[in-house]
Symmetry: C2
Subunit: 621 residues, 2 copies
């Protein structure tokens, strides 16, 4: 098995300033690969049970993947993980950009941050050398300013910075970590954990070159990609995510509207990135080594003043601040998105928290007194933008919303909880589970709470055409979108395990490589004689380890459930006769457990752990 | 998913002469692929529970694979299945040669034989046309004569014949089906089922050509094979199986000696195919389209008179009639092998049955009276050859031994059962479970009873070098041979599932293609976007369906056990301190069940069936 694919893991204890470099054996790399795999491994092995996620005992892990740093489209990503202050369970998020590749070039596959610095610090990793540097002068600064200062004081414009803005410093429970100013490790509050450690930023720079085991095969694969696959993605590199789907999502009932309350949104059309390009102007950029330039850059003048250094909104952002808040003002959406990147707070949780507050306001559970006079009606674009600032700075109502909708509803009381759209405390992304019902099940069982990434978008397996790809993992028949039968659950199991494997490799989901291509690429890069089977099992390993982590944190099967709202149909739009049936959902969840080899309570069985070659996990259950 | 890969299944009811041609949908082909997959599907779906395996209600299925008939090394094989008269459970055997490919060229992927002909018949399949022909004049003939007559009367020398000799006619419970005179679908008594149906032979001839979906890729793959992989197999095509290992097997304790009683065999060296070539002369031939010519052809004059049209002995034959009977006379071994092919009885079960009788004789449980005066001492080469004839013709003691050692011991009584080396009634192949302990577990849980093919040969995962290949399915560490821990069981699970997938594709285990090559070949041939994952799951599906079949036939976990002999060490040789510990075996079996997603009684769970996309199986459990 020896192919020489190993590397360095950096361990930094901020409490005592200790810096260690570890060199795990190759088998560790192969069994967990990187990214979410490393995160799951270290969190489970090294965290004590039931620690305070915002205390010094939590560990914050940055992990690149086996493919990161190589010139392969889709691999310019890294993962960040810790116990989540939002869910109290497994926290993990992936992010694109350039930082992950730079970390690898600087000599490290991953960083484990331990303890808590006395005063604000940042980490400076320069071609294998590691320094903990004072960041007192940076604390309180927005991301754009921090990056500029760091680049200046270290004297290198090509430094890459992952960092938190004021949102992270203020421990907004869904604060994110921003790198290159416009890429967010968005979900599960990793920015709050970073803030709790007084760690403002990690600056990296490196020149290390890696050998590809089979250059010729890799080159051929990328050539094939540039000739065929990538050409079919023209929409993506002209307009990025959201293009051409806003109106269709609205009409099919998939577009979350007014805090998931409504089934249609007339303003959907004007939120389309096509319109964005036409009316505002749109530039595109790529992540490291990617030929699919799907990242938007937006510049807007008065009165919104959107700074292009913060990029532009993805579909999730457009949905969260647009339809979900009843807003059809594209410029306001772009501004809200920009602020989230400035302050380092997650666009989805922020938008859904604001939508929640709006519904509370319209139902008089929140009043003008609570909002400092802001009229929090659905559709009030200015109010949305204002609330983003208030959340990031924990001002007024923002302080309550910064806790996430679950905790906010508990504070607000008066029935606010029925408007709190979350699973396990994490706000629900911009895909309607009443339409995509398999995704609804995915929301309930995802270890990070409601998650749209490692999840089954039912539409993707609803057509004969899609089967061409998914047949590689044995999903042979198109399945109805609003079905929760065993075949759908089976597809969910396979699909999410695969995606968690991509989260270990840190291969972007948007790159049109699939179950057959990816093992070829991993083979070419690492020299491992790997297969779809092995990678699927890596993914299953991760799903299971993350579940085990949650079980240790006293999350139970009761936490695997959807908000009541989704059990009733919309009152308008396409889904006036469609809702999730609680019995069907319950069955689907139990079927998911069992197909995963978990028991009736969703606890991984010893035999499944053994089959996955991670029997060491059983000690934590 | 539509790639147009479908074909014809021929259904022949011998009771009423009805001939049907069926065209399953492509998804059937993809889910079960062919060979053992088809066998498991039809036996489970179409047989009534607990029928007499030698009655007209049993069905005999001949199935080629998706790759059979294409010019791909290793694919000239077919599978034969029915309820086994030897085990009372799932019966299935694979065979090489030319018949399977000819069947495909004649227009059929599989044949389902139902009912029972009133008088002996044979089937004549000629380019899609099917005739049931009288075989009264063939009944009683040895295979060589039958083939000659059929070729002559049908007027085509290139006809391929699968048939039974007198062993099948006499319903020897381990009668096999012989094609091309020297290839045997050897195990589980498929020849007895054929005999019970009064079906003497199936003659096939065809000229159908198949389109390969991706000719270029397939050509490149075969070129790569001929340049690299196949060169590393020089021993195989000079001497076939057994070459260079006889002495090594004897000294390591792996060579079954005197009915598995002893731990060393001084005569091992002279049984080596290298000696065979030197002293007797050895020609080699190949199966259809195979560049590895691993099939021996032996010609010997007086007194043995071994006819080369019946090929030569494989390793299993050499072990069964050689060391296992204490015989070190290579010519006698070749004769015993030739007789088995003439009479269509399985070499392993025949040899082990004779070894059993020899041990009974040496322990005075059988006397000269029982043996008609034959001195059945270990080492008596002439007695072995004589007994083969007597078994095939059910003469004297042969009539008892023709029932297999389990039933023979029940008839002989007086403690004979402790010398009956079988699992589920099927005689144990020529690999010592005290040495290869994972294989010992494999013997217990194999659906066909003791089986050496779809099994884990522990030696194959004991070296770092072997990991290069097996790492593709996540077996990352070399494992000790005499270990029965969870990692070994995990390897057994993965390995046997893979092999059952090869048994569906009908890819020979001896061709040095592996987990990564085979999906590429299937993709090139069928156009299916398949992967190692999908093929592993096909294998798991088959293992599970075969298990379900056995459960329906009232086999239970009690039938998953080894003969007591293996719980004590040898009294000489390498294994004087090594034996299987019953507690470890018991644990390993239960761990196997659980890792397979079966319950504590070894019954596949509903969720596992659902996960494998075969929930229809649950109705039979």
């Amino acid at each position: 098995m020896v192919n020489g694919y190993t590397g360095n893991i950096l361990r930094v204890d901020l409490t005592n300033g200790k810096i260690l470099i570890e060199n795990p054996e190759e088998i560790f790399y192969r069994r967990y690969i990187g990214g979410e795999g490393f995160v799951a491994y270290y969190l489970l092995k090294e965290l004590k049970a039931r620690i305070d996620p915002l205390g010094p005992e939590n560990k914050l892990i940055f992990a690149a993947g086996s493919l990161t740093g190589f010139a392969i489209p889709g691999t310019g990503r890294n993962s960040v993980g810790a116990k989540s202050p939002l869910t109290g369970g497994f926290g993990e998020a992936e992010v694109g950009g350039y930082w992950g590749a730079e970390l690898k070039h600087a000599g490290f596959d991953a960083i484990i941050i331990e303890g808590k610095a006395k005063n604000p610090v940042y980490l400076w990793i320069n071609d294998g050398k590691v320094e903990i540097k004072d960041a007192s002068h940076l604390w309180g600064k927005i991301t754009g300013e921090t990056e500029a200062v760091i680049k200046k004081e270290l004297g290198d414009k090509l430094i890459r910075v992952a960092q938190i803005g004021p949102g992270g410093e203020h421990l907004v429970r869904y604060a994110c970590i921003i790198n290159d100013l416009r890429n967010a490790a968005g979900r599960t509050g990793m920015g709050a954990v970073m803030g709790s450690k007084n760690l403002k930023a990690i600056a990296v720079r490196g020149h290390k070159k890696f050998a590809v085991k089979n250059k010729e095969k890799l080159r051929a694969k990328i050539k094939e990609f540039n000739e065929v696959a990538y050409k079919s993605f023209s929409g993506y590199f002209k307009y990025g995510t959201g293009y051409g789907i806003m109106e269709q999502f609205a009409s099919s009932g998939n577009l979350p509207t007014r805090n998931f309350r409504d089934g249609d949104f007339k303003g959907a059309k004007v939120l389309d990135p096509g319109i964005m390009k036409e009316e505002i102007g749109l530039k595109m950029e790529a992540c490291y080594a990617c030929s699919i330039r799907c990242k938007k850059i937006v510049e807007i003048g008065e009165p919104w003043n959107v700074d292009p250094i913060y990029g532009g909104p993805e579909y999730e952002s457009i949905g969260a601040f647009g339809s979900n808040c009843g807003v059809d003002d594209l410029r306001a959406v772009c501004k809200a998105n920009e602020l989230c990147n400035k302050y380092s707070i997650d666009v989805i949780s922020t938008g859904v928290s604001i939508g929640f507050a709006m519904e509370c306001y319209e139902n008089e559970i929140l009043t003008d007194e609570d909002t400092d006079g802001i009229a929090l009606n659905f559709g009030n674009a200015e109010a949305v933008v204002k609330m983003v600032e208030m959340i990031a700075k924990r001002e007024g109502l923002g302080d309550i919303l910064a806790e996430g909708v679950k905790r906010a509803a508990e504070k607000i009381k008066n029935g606010a909880d029925k408007y709190a759209m979350h699973v396990k405390g994490q706000e629900i992304p911009m895909h309607e589970p009443r339409l995509k019902q398999g995704l609804g099940v995915g929301y309930t069982i995802s270890p990070t709470g409601a998650e749209h990434m490692a999840n089954l978008h039912d539409t993707s397996i609803a057509s004969e055409r899609a089967m061409a790809s998914h047949s590689a993992i044995g999903i042979l028949e198109p399945l109805k979108i609003d079905d929760l039968g065993i075949k759908k659950v089976r597809a969910l199991v396979y699909y999410t395990n695969w995606q968690n494997s991509l989260n270990a490799l840190l291969m972007c989901y948007f790159v049109p490589w699939d179950y057959v291509d990816i093992p070829e690429i991993v083979r070419a890069v690492t020299g491992w004689h790997t297969s779809t089977w092995e990678l699927m099992k890596v993914g299953e390993r991760i799903t299971t380890m993350a579940r085990a982590f949650n079980m240790r944190e006293a999350l139970t099967k009761k936490d695997d459930w959807l908000p009541e709202r989704f059990f009733k149909p919309h009152t308008s739009g396409a889904l006036v006769e469609t809702a999730i049936k609680p019995d069907e959902l319950k069955n689907a969840i139990i079927n998911y457990y069992k197909m995963m080899g978990w028991d009736d309570d969703g606890i991984p069985t010893k035999s499944k752990l053994e089959e996955l070659d991670i029997d060491w996990v059983s000690q934590y259950l």
